[in-house]
């Protein structure tokens, strides 16, 4: 009896899979739509190839251009902004949830430390942190210092992210999570299945802002990439490149620009062009997602209601 039912269920499932893959009379199946989308994507890629090439090349460093393995993704710049951002969002969300949901001894003390870390300028801690990484032999122009600080919740403005998440998770009714726990979800599962999906707005906010902060940061980047001592790195950010560009440009033209005013103006134009290029990706991001950016402050409940 049971066996035959299983068999029927299996047949049903088989039928269903077949329908999904090949489609029925009124609806195109998965394979059909896959082919259509594939064709569309490939053709659009061919259409956009020159434009994409232009954009991608313009973001690459000199080493990227020479390195044939870095074909499309400009390794250094985007990597430095994207990967730590993702780590930071996840860790900060966890910490914010931990503070909001649980009571544990010394919680108050840790909260005070959290707030102090937000309030005090990071310049006091920047140098010892640099030395920690130097002792670990990690100031070698790789992404490791950024990744480690982000994973340990100490990335750029991580504290602010934790406070946003803390605030957000506190607004979620505790009963919701308790209900999930009664239904048999463990603490970890309740976090992944209930808390994270509910914190969607906060995650969007923190991701967007972390990306912007990582993109714009120069002080700590210079430290962690070892700019003070030797500069032997392929990893860089557009903001650093902008400063470097400005310096090298000023050096190259300083001899005659001081005497000729019109060439000075030309220099300005080129410097502004560099500035525009450096912030162009952020501008595009902003105009595409401006609603999320602007409404984020309200949604994340920073206003203290």
């Amino acid at each position: 009896m049971k066996c035959s039912m299983d068999k029927i269920a299996f047949e049903n499932r088989k039928e269903k899979i077949k329908r999904i893959m090949l489609g029925s009379a009124e609806k195109r199946g998965f394979i059909g739509s896959f082919v259509v989308y594939l064709l569309l994507i490939v053709i659009s890629f061919i259409f956009l190839y020159p434009v994409l090439y232009m954009i991608s090349r313009s973001l690459m460093s000199r080493n990227d251009l020479l390195d044939s393995s870095a074909m499309w993704i400009p390794s250094a710049i985007t990597l430095l902004a994207v990967v730590p951002t993702l780590a930071q969002v996840f860790i900060c969300s966890m910490a914010g949830y931990g503070f909001a949901r649980y009571n544990f001894p010394l919680k108050r003390l840790w909260m005070v430390i959290l707030i102090l870390a937000f309030l005090l300028p990071s310049q006091t801690t920047a140098l010892p942190n640099y030395l920690v990484f130097q002792n670990l032999r990690m100031i070698d122009g790789t992404i490791r210092p950024f990744l480690i600080t982000a994973i340990l919740g100490q990335g750029f403005k991580s504290t602010l992210c934790i406070l946003i998440f803390y605030n957000f998770h506190r607004q979620v009714p505790q009963s919701l999570i308790e209900a999930a726990e009664i239904d048999g979800a463990g603490h970890i599962k309740a976090y992944f299945r209930i808390a994270i999906p509910l914190a969607g707005a906060a995650i969007v906010v923190v991701t967007l802002f972390s990306f912007v902060w990582y993109w714009n940061e120069t002080y700590l980047v210079r430290n962690y990439l070892g700019y003070g001592t030797t500069r032997n790195t392929a990893l860089t950010t557009l903001m650093l490149e902008l400063s470097a560009f400005e310096d090298s440009y000023a050096n190259a033209y300083t001899t005659w620009a001081s005497s000729v005013t019109s060439s000075d103006r030309l220099n300005d134009a080129i410097r502004m062009a560099g500035t525009v290029l450096a912030i162009a990706p952020l501008m595009i991001l902003y105009f595409a997602l401006q609603k999320q950016f602007v409404e984020s402050v309200d949604k994340a409940g920073i206003t203290g209601e």
Binding site: F99, W110, P128, Q154, I279, D298
Partner: protein, 318 residues
Amino acid sequence: MSKQKRNPHDKRRLTKRTLREWGFGYLFIAPWIVGVSIFFLYAMVQSLRFSFSRVELSNGVILHPLENGIFENFVKVFTTDVNFPGILANFGVGLVLQLPVIIAFSLIIALLLNSKIRCRSLFRMIFFLPVIIATGPVMSQLTAQGVSSVPMVSQNALLSVLDGLPEFIYTPINNLFSSLIMILWNSGIQILIFLAGLQKVSRTLYEAAKIDGASGWESFWKITLPTVKPLILLNAVYTVVTLATGGSNEIIELIYTATYTATQGYSYAMAMSWIYTLVVAVILIAVFLLLREKSDKHVVYEQKRIDDKTKMAGRKKA
């Protein structure tokens, strides 16, 4: 489960549950605790030690005790450095001057945006834009180009009135006017925070006040301002923190260069940054004391509500 049924008043079960809760609480914040211990607490202690000793760099960091008194580095900052005291004073006075400008400006903009207007989201987008692009290198580029102030203001005779003032007051005020746009650029988040607060005031309150004969001016002071008062504190703290840690800050640049200058070095830079931290902390405390809610003005239950609100706001953002 069966254990629970047998002995519902067992205290050990309760402690076990609480312990579990503690454990998971710590599990969730564990990465942060490790990070904050190494990169904040330990780093703070280290930088304090650096600032009170002479650092020698030879195959690692060696700390020597100071010969000329324990505060040698701090004294050196004020006696030998030609730039630092002046820049620090400028920063302090500038911050104190900029703070009310930013707060007042963002409140006005938020009030304007909160009134019935078309294209509100467009304007909101424009006012928020600087948050995205206002970064150290870009700001310094724009300042170098002279687009940081409104031409009419800086060319106006307004500044000549101030000529008689002593230098230490004149310079910050001059800076305030000559980089007005850059200062206003720092108010994006603040505008949105005020706006969010204002939108929570119900319109009926204003209508009731109007019926009772209150003018717009009066209802601003009696309704709007009390509502946004906790947000003023929040915004003030936020403004101080962003201005103090922001990229276009001369002191930060000074500390950075001092770190890698042979004659000054680590301990000197750390002494500098501690002085800076103290100045910022003093400003923060002053802001907090000035803007916190006074307790004698309200009835008790009202006070409790506001207290909770401030506490929350403080906890959230401060």
